[in-house]
C-alpha cells in the first residue's frame, strides 16, 4: 500500500472511530499496529524483544491521547510524534543517551511499511490490569473486555454510570503509567 493511501485509509477510520464508530476504530487500531510494528522493529533492531511491548504501549498511549488529534492535521505526524516519544522513553531507560543518535529524527515514514506478524509481548498487560484498584479495574473488565454497556456495568458493580466512565478513562491512563514503571 502506498504511503499516502495508508494515510487516507487510516485517517478515515480514525475519524470515524473518534465519532464513536467502534468497528472503524478497531480496524484503525489493527492497521495501525502493523505499521507501528514495522516502524519500531526497524528502529529497535538492538532490542527485538521490546518491539511488541512498545507497540502495545504506543497503542494504549494513542488511545488515551486520541482527544489531542485534530482532523486537519496529518495523522502520520501525530502517530509518528507519539511513537517517537514512547521510543525515546524506552531507549532512555534502556541505554542512556548514546542510543538516541541516529534512528529517531527520521522522516515521517511511520506508515511506509507494515508487519502483520505479532510476536508475543513480554510484558503482560492483563497482569498489570489485575493490579489496578477496583474502581479502575472493574469498569475496564466489564465494559472493555466483556463488552457490557456502561449502564449494565453500573448496575453490576453498584457504581454510578459516570463513575464507570471515569473509571475506564482513568484506569487506562493508570495502566499506561504502570507500563512505564514496569519498563
Amino acid at each position: 500500500m502506498a504511503k499516502s493511501d495508508a494515510e487516507r485509509v487510516l485517517h478515515d477510520l480514525f475519524v470515524r472511530g473518534l465519532d464513536g464508530d467502534a468497528a472503524a476504530y478497531r480496524a484503525f487500531l489493527q492497521k495501525l499496529s502493523t505499521h507501528l510494528r514495522a516502524f519500531l522493529a526497524r528502529r529497535l533492531f538492538g532490542w527485538p524483544d521490546e518491539v511488541e511491548d512498545l507497540v502495545q504501549e504506543c497503542l494504549l498511549a494513542m488511545h488515551n491521547q486520541r482527544h489531542t488529534y485534530q482532523s486537519d492535521q496529518p495523522l502520520t505526524a501525530w502517530v509518528h510524534a507519539i511513537a517517537r516519544y514512547k521510543m525515546i522513553d524506552l531507549l532512555r531507560s534502556k541505554a542512556g543517551r548514546e542510543a538516541l543518535h541516529d534512528p529517531l529524527d527520521d522522516d515521517l515514514a511511520v506508515f511506509a511499511e507494515s508487519a502483520t506478524e505479532a510476536s508475543d509481548a513480554r510484558r503482560d498487560i492483563a497482569g498489570l490490569l489485575d493490579s489496578l484498584p477496583d474502581r479502575h479495574r472493574l469498569p475496564i473488565v466489564h465494559v472493555k473486555l466483556e463488552g457490557l454497556s456502561v449502564a449494565e456495568t453500573a448496575k453490576l458493580t453498584g457504581m454510578s454510570e459516570s463513575a464507570v466512565k471515569v473509571g475506564i478513562h482513568r484506569g487506562l491512563k493508570a495502566l499506561a503509567l504502570k507500563i512505564r514503571e514496569s519498563m
Binding site: 467502534a22 501525530w78 516519544y85
Partner: protein, 213 residues
C-alpha cells in the same frame, strides 16, 4: 495479553471524543485562572486609584499590550505543543516582536534622557517587588495551565512548560498593570519582562518532571 486482544479491548465501548480538546482545556484554564489572578490583585495590591485617568496615557496601553501579546502567543504555542506532531512554526515571533518593541522604546527613552534621570527610569519606585508580584499574580493561571496540559499530550515537556509559564506570566503582568504605578518604558522593559520570565523558567524546569505521560 496479545496485541489483538488489546486492540479489541481498546475498541470496545468507545464513546465519541470531543474535538479541539487542547484549545478547550487551555481556555478553561484561562477562564478559571485569570479571574483568580484578578481577585488576588484586588485583594493584595488594589486597583490603582487613578485608573480612569491613566487610561488616557498611551504608555498605560503599551504596558497592557505587551503582556497581553505574550499571553495570547503563549496560548497559541501551548495549545500546539500540547498536541503530538504539531509544529509551532513562526508563532514564536509573537513573543519576540513585543519584547523587541519595548526594548527599543526603552533604549530610545534612556538615550534621550539626561544621565541623572536614567536610574529612576530603570528602577522606578517599585523595582524590588514588581517582578515577584507579577510572578505571584500569575500563579493561578500557571497552575491551571499545567493541570490542563497534564490532560493533553506534550511531547516536548520543557518547551510546553515554558510556554504555559509565558502565557501565565503575560496574563499576570496584564493584571498587575492595573495596579502598578510605573509607566516608564525602561522599567517595564526590565521588570515586567523579568516578572514574565520567572514563571516561564519555572515552567521549563518543572515541565519535564510533571508533564510526562
Amino acid at each position: 495479553m496479545k496485541t489483538d486482544d488489546l486492540v479489541a479491548m481498546l475498541a470496545t465501548g468507545v464513546a465519541p471524543v470531543p474535538r479541539r480538546a487542547a484549545s478547550l482545556r487551555l481556555s478553561v484554564a484561562l477562564l478559571v485562572g485569570v479571574p483568580l489572578s484578578f481577585a488576588w490583585m484586588l485583594y493584595e495590591y488594589g486597583m490603582r486609584r487613578d485608573l480612569v485617568q491613566a487610561m488616557f496615557w498611551p504608555m498605560f496601553w503599551v504596558r497592557l499590550a505587551l503582556p497581553v501579546c505574550v499571553a495570547v502567543t503563549g496560548f497559541v504555542i501551548v495549545q500546539r505543543l500540547a498536541r503530538p506532531g504539531v509544529r509551532v512554526h513562526k508563532v514564536w515571533l509573537g513573543l519576540a516582536v513585543p519584547l523587541l518593541v519595548i526594548w527599543v522604546i526603552a533604549l530610545v527613552i534612556l538615550l534621550s534622557s539626561p544621565a541623572e534621570e536614567r536610574p529612576t527610569l530603570i528602577m522606578g519606585q517599585t523595582w524590588r517587588t514588581c517582578a515577584m508580584n507579577i510572578a505571584t499574580i500569575s500563579l493561578p493561571v500557571f497552575v491551571a495551565a499545567l493541570i490542563a496540559l497534564k490532560g493533553l499530550a506534550p511531547t516536548r515537556p520543557a518547551l510546553a512548560g515554558a510556554a504555559a509559564g509565558a502565557m501565565a506570566g503575560g496574563a499576570g503582568a496584564a493584571v498587575y498593570a492595573l495596579h502598578c504605578v510605573e509607566l516608564a518604558a525602561p522599567f517595564i522593559a526590565i521588570w515586567y519582562v523579568a516578572g514574565i520570565l520567572l514563571p516561564t523558567l519555572l515552567g521549563a524546569l518543572i515541565g519535564p518532571r510533571i508533564l510526562r505521560w
